[in-house]
């Protein structure tokens, strides 16, 4: 299970880097979003395999048999932050598109006629 997840992390990171190498902003942004998901999955890996473990509800009796709850808390926070950043970036993309009618970085470089 852990091996499978870590391989997934690798694949996601690779895909996101491929996307980020493009010249078009939409793709680059998608790459960054994907990178965030890869990171979250990597943190889940850290909590080790959940198979055969109890959900982390404390009654003080079965220490050591829980799934470690902290990585999940970390991911929850990271997801919320990531969501905000994605919303912000998408808004920025829309604004850029409306203003310049292009999302190519090289075309954005051309100075606006004033």
């Amino acid at each position: 299970m852990t091996i499978l997840t870590s391989m997934m992390v690798g694949v996601i990171f690779a895909a996101s880097i491929y996307l980020m190498l493009g010249r078009e902003l939409k793709g680059v942004c998608m790459g960054v979003f994907l990178l965030g998901h890869g990171a979250n999955l990597a943190i889940i890996c850290v909590s080790r395999s959940p198979l055969g473990k109890l959900p982390p509800i404390l009654d003080g009796s079965a220490i050591g048999q829980y799934v470690d709850p902290l990585p999940q808390a970390l991911i929850l926070t990271a997801i919320v932050i990531g969501f905000a950043v994605q919303a912000f970036l998408l808004t920025l993309l829309v604004i850029t598109w409306r203003r310049s009618t292009t999302l190519e970085l090289s075309e954005l470089a051309v100075e606006e006629p004033e």
Binding site: C29, I43, L105, E112
Partner: protein, 531 residues
């Protein structure tokens, strides 16, 4: 005041931000809130500094929700954090005074003020946080606010640069959160004091070394060290001068602060980590400072000279950090190197920011900040000229101004430890810094204005600069006290350095006395404690 008051460092800017967001239609009320909140911020900053440094170094901690330390969220104000907080508060106040009188257009609209407070919220949180994950969250808040400030009233060019800034920072943050997760997996904790304890006991697993080395990349990107600095010169000079000053004064310095915290305090004596990190930092410091200043010498507008200069100055901070870590170096020497780095950071926060603000006023007077199009400002704006000269010479490090003392400490320790090449770079950089500052001085202020500049005879153009001058003057006065009262500041930096070089009091203050030097796993200990 009780220890728990340190939560005010984050609660106050957050409250001010929310309040001023609710009042976004009422600009006057927003300014009143802003000035009040920032003054109060200065007051608690100075209070914290006085409490922490006097009589000896005390460490203020507060456990959120009263959860015991390695599990809950801890906030800590140690001498280093207190120094950074108080200087940061002064810089923020001065820039705000400048902003409310100088910024125009959309920057005067309702949303600028809340973002300003939220930026400070993020910065101050990253100074006081006691664990790596909250550091990530604080970075994100700071960066979110900075992204939004970045694109207020954007031109197309600024928009393009904004993407570069946002995307690179996002990649950096994602790497940071990955590193934090992996470190948790190996150490079972993210609490800085707890990691310090593990590192001091020499219990770091070998697999954690690459993760820690990756942190150099994360923080190096934020601090803009070689070879990760390419985003900075392009982005900062597109900002209005006031915001450029704020970003220059705070954001890269947060990166430097975190590098001190992590590499000096947490892993400074952990052999395997230092073996990897120290050579990287040493080389990077030299190249960063030298390339940065070469860039500055080649530039021709005030803002871009100052923007590239940030990088060069970061090199000195990294030099201090690199000199301070490693086994087999005398404690005294390590201490002085960190003290030099800390002194240099606070000096740079104040001076760099005041220079950016001066750049803004140059633009206001002359209508441009291209050095070929301006001139003669020494007659036109004698006050501005005086303030600029003091700040510029401080940056270059002429004694008895503030830049001298930071560089003196760093270069002395560099010699002492036998890094002659690095010292040579540092000295050459210093000379070129003076050259680039004098370039602005002689083109902008000293030489007569070129004929196409019309403002000299145009009585209609009356620049409004009173508020701006007040803001700059405040910063320059602080910079002057750093130069003329250097022994005081150096002493404070040394106290901070001592608590970083020997973090036992820090660990004891956060985790409690009984955990120091204790090898049992935390979980078992706390459960035992509860029973």
């Amino acid at each position: 005041m009780p220890n728990h008051m340190i939560i005010l460092f984050v609660a106050l800017p957050m409250a001010a931000g929310i309040l001023s967001l609710m009042l976004h239609r009422f600009h006057r009320a927003q300014r009143v809130i802003g000035v009040t909140a920032l003054l109060a911020n200065v007051a608690i900053g100075v209070w914290a500094l006085a409490t922490v440094l006097n009589p000896a170094s005390r460490i203020l901690t507060s456990q959120m929700g009263n959860w015991p330390a390695p599990f809950g969220i801890t906030i800590v104000v140690d001498p280093l954090a207190a120094i950074m907080l108080s200087i940061c508060a002064i810089v923020c106040f001065a820039v705000y005074v400048y902003c409310i009188s100088q910024l125009t257009g959309k920057h005067q609209g309702g949303y600028f003020h809340p973002l300003y407070h939220l930026l400070i919220f993020g910065v101050q949180w990253s100074f006081i946080t006691g664990d790596l994950f909250n550091l990530f969250v604080a970075f994100e808040i700071m960066l979110m606010a900075s992204y939004a400030v970045f694109i207020i009233g954007t031109s197309r060019e600024q928009m393009r640069q904004a993407y570069k800034y946002i995307l690179l920072n996002l990649i950096g943050s994602t790497m940071f959160v990955t590193c934090a997760g992996l470190l948790y997996g190996q150490l079972g904790t993210l609490n800085m004091a707890d990691i310090t304890r593990i590192a001091m006991a020499g219990e770091l697993p070998a697999t954690s070394i690459p993760v820690i080395a990756l942190l150099v990349l994360v923080f190096g990107g934020k601090t803009a060290i070689f070879p990760l600095w390419y985003w900075l010169p392009d982005t900062y000079h597109t900002l209005p001068a006031a915001l450029g000053g704020l970003f220059a004064g705070l954001l890269t310095k947060v990166g430097a602060y975190v590098m001190i915290r992590v590499f000096v305090m947490m892993f400074g004596l952990s052999g395997p980590v230092v073996d990897v990190v120290k050579p990287i930092l040493l080389v990077s410091a030299g190249v960063t400072m030298f390339l940065g200043v070469l860039g500055a010498v080649s530039m021709h507008t005030v803002r871009s000279i100052l923007a590239i200069h940030i990088i060069s100055q970061v090199g000195y901070m990294i030099m201090g950090i690199a000199l301070a870590i490693g086994l087999g170096i005398a404690v005294e020497s390590r201490e002085l190197a960190v003290a030099g780095a800390i002194f240099f950071i606070i000096h740079n926060m104040v001076v760099k920011c005041s220079l950016f603000l001066c750049g803004g006023l140059i633009h206001e007077h002359a209508g441009s900040d291209d050095l070929n199009k301006i001139g003669g400002l020494v007659r036109r704006a004698p006050w501005l000229a005086t303030l600029f000269l003091i700040a510029a010479l401080s940056l270059a490090g002429l004694p008895p101004l503030s830049g001298f003392f930071g560089k003196f400490l760093l270069i002395r320790e560099g010699f002492g430890q036998g890094h002659y090449v690095l010292v040579g770079f540092a000295l050459a950089t210093s000379l070129l810094t003076l050259l680039s500052m004098l370039k602005i001085w002689s083109y902008g202020f000293w030489s007569p204005a070129p004929p196409e500049v019309q403002y000299v005879r145009n009585p209609a153009h009356r620049p409004r600069t009173a508020g701006g001058i007040a803001g700059i003057a405040l910063l320059v006065i602080v910079a002057l006290t750093m130069g003329l009262g250097a022994p005081l500041y150096v002493k404070a930096s040394r106290i901070a350095a001592q608590s970083l070089i020997d973090p036992t009091p820090y660990v004891a203050a956060v985790l409690g006395e009984q955990y120091v030097g204790d090898e049992t796993p935390r979980l078992a200990k706390v459960i035992e404690h509860d029973e």
